[in-house]
Symmetry: C2
Subunit: 432 residues, 2 copies
């Protein structure tokens, strides 16, 4: 029996990240027509962006075309568009390709970098939230070394080879580790004329320790790994200003051409929502069913949502696993509603967290077991391979990793993009 | 014994294409100090650019970092820079990173698109000579379909889905075939809402047949393959104008959003050379030893050089195989000179030419044997895999091809770059 699509309630999902993807996969389109809107035509596997930035993986390996994901799903429509705003009274989303009417609106627009109001830092730092930003960062890192080669001023040369990473969470730690491996394994053969002892990697973190969301064991181990790999750690330290030349922290000034911002993220909600629904870190306040209270059939999931639970009274952390689980829960609730069944509240199941620092060096926190080192590293790789979308992506990523493991080499050090950061010009999140 | 590098004659190679690469690989740096200058930090395997443009391969697979290629070569220096001009009197090359002195100058700067003075076409057509151009083309192709989706005007929709390729040489033929396969194999699942019968691929060629540099058998077969795959062939036809909306050919007007220029190339010599040394198609006239006559220790190799031989009185064709063989010859001559031995003249050895049109459809001309079809296709793939630089690149390319073969699917259809062609603005060759 062909279901007349027009008569079904229309669910509009804004964003094809972990949350949006999981909803779309699980929602039953016998009962709903689904429209997904994203400004990219692909899903990005954000946990591996840092490997694109450090020449370890090619961008195609960690992205997956959204149309392809849902090619077999009936009554599913993908729209590549920029979301402009929402009008709750008429139930319309305004986008760059026109208005889209909704019956149910799911906001899964994720997070963006939070510079805490420091305009200079925003203007001059490199973010790493999207595929294109990671590619830009890759080119910038390599271009700095090309520039350093022709630099006669020894201080300027050192400044070009100094990288300051702000934020000691998983992204910052993994990036610092990857840069440290570039320094010892790859760059000496590429730039024999440079004295790579002058390459410095600084990791700045406002909290007293790295990976503060993980266990003490993980923090301590990661700290030791990074220290061994020659990363300068600045705990209890925060960045105050950056003019593109020198990073000013609460502890000291660090002359550096590159400041990578992995410190803070904030929700990226859409315009037009009633402002009173926005909570801390710009996230949309939802109840435990991801419903935006007071709004009519509007939901928020993943990083952009702020859901307080018993264990997390200040809101669940902005993690991929939370986004995935919320997406699954919301899809199930939609399916239940369609059948007149009871909907359920969200319960976060902590499946563990992990971070890799380098070859044979990772930390894994499982709910009842914490470990680190070589086995943790292989665990990290296996889990991330399995989480990647698409068999081809897994194979290509596996080859790249195996290659790097056997040859101590990163294959993809091409400067493909022109260096597009213009100092003194604020990059629009959507512009890059 | 450490050779004091400073006392060796310095050979400066401009360009890391097939010719420059082969010289640098084979020149003996016991006798010369070698400096290679290229505006990219990688070598591009140009024969496969069309697969990057049609989502078949990722850019990292067909490029190889030049520093890595020569990591073990002593007295070899790579400089990533834009060449500005040469001053023959002082033996200095001016570049974006400063002056470089030479004792021997080898110009291997290759070719660029030749629009035969048609400024409108240059302004509005897409070239496909570099990796970034191919990536831009990929994004443009896919973005056209995204746009077509929201287009209510049926003529405009058809115009967005019309692709005109100018030039029936290997590049044009291979690109037309790849687009035809996208049309039948990939796009119908990605865009079920579009009527893909409206997608048209036109191949425009001024000569009476495609692949006119190959055998009659190859031309005839390629013509039949393309015809079967639904490509519109316009022989004896040339493009007269293109305003970005409608292609005006000598036969008819074709409304098309995309015009891909694979028609003509011309040498890309450097500024400052004595103009009298420039011959047809902007190529530098050389003798059979690649020497620029009348100039002091200046050589030109590959596409940028114009060498007349007995079999090719108007000059050797602009082919990768010619460039490679000339590079090898010149390196050997340099090595011979260093030992006081006799240098040799260039003899082109035609090892055959080939082109692929699609799955199980290729044409191969060997000197004494011409064949086409499935075996030719596998031959084409094998030869191109072997020619690719780097084991990792071969493995990843093989996987992508095997995947495409088994799944009738192109994996990499990401719109990663913003569509950067601004109609009405001439793209600088070096700008993209």
């Amino acid at each position: 029996m062909k279901i007349p699509e027009i008569s079904l309630p229309r669910v509009v999902i804004l964003g094809g990240g972990f949350a949006g993807l999981n909803i779309a996969k699980r929602i039953d389109t016998k009962h709903y027509q689904v429209v997904m809107v994203d400004r990219h035509n692909y899903h990005t596997f954000q946990p591996l962006l840092y490997q694109v930035a450090t020449s370890g993986l090619e961008p195609d390996s960690i992205a997956y075309p959204l149309r392809k994901t849902f090619a077999d799903k009936k009554r599913f429509h993908f729209r590549m568009a920029e979301v402009k705003s929402v009008d709750e009274s008429t139930k319309i989303v305004q986008t760059s390709i026109g208005d889209i009417r909704y019956d149910h609106l799911i906001i899964a627009t994720g997070a963006r970098s939070n510079y805490f109001g420091m305009e200079n830092v925003e203007r001059n730092a490199m973010p790493m939230k999207t595929l294109t930003q990671s590619l830009d960062l890759r080119s910038l890192i390599l271009q700095n070394f090309e520039k350093a080669l022709y630099c006669n001023d020894i201080n300027e040369q050192k400044r070009l080879m100094t990288f300051v990473i702000v934020g000691g969470g998983p992204t910052g730690v993994e990036l610092a580790g990857a840069l440290a491996e570039l320094k010892t394994q790859v760059l000496p053969t590429d730039y024999p004329d440079l004295d790579l002892r002058d390459m410095e990697i600084h990791l700045v973190e406002a909290a007293p320790k790295v990976l503060s969301a993980m266990s003490d064991h993980a923090s301590r181990k990661a700290d030791r790994f990074l220290d061994k790999m020659g990363v300068h750690l600045w705990m209890n330290t925060f960045v105050k200003d950056y003019d593109g030349q020198t990073v000013i922290t609460s502890e000291r000034e660090i002359p550096a051409e590159t400041l990578i911002w992995a410190a803070g993220v904030m929700g990226a909600p859409i315009q037009g929502l009633n402002a009173s629904k926005i909570g801390a870190a710009n996230r949309i306040i939802v109840n435990t069913k991801c419903e935006v209270e007071g709004a009519d059939n509007v939901y928020a999931v993943g990083d952009v949502s702020l859901m307080a639970t018993k264990n997390f009274p200040k809101g669940l952390p902005m993690l991929g696993s939370v986004a995935m689980q919320q997406g699954t829960m919301l899809a199930k609730n939609f399916n239940a509603m369609a059948k007149g069944k009871k909907t359920r509240e969200f319960k976060y199941k902590d499946k563990g967290t992990m971070a890799t620092i380098g070859r044979n060096r990772a930390v894994v926190d499982l709910p009842f077991y914490k470990f680190s080192g070589t086995f943790a590293w292989f665990t990290w790789m296996f889990v991330h391979l399995m989480l990647l979308a698409g068999f081809r992506n897994r194979v290509v990523t596996f080859i790249n990793w195996a290659w790097g493991y056997l040859r101590y080499d990163q294959a993809n050090r091409l400067i493909v993009r022109t260096y597009r950061r213009n100092k003194g010009e604020v990059l629009e999140q959507n512009d890059v």
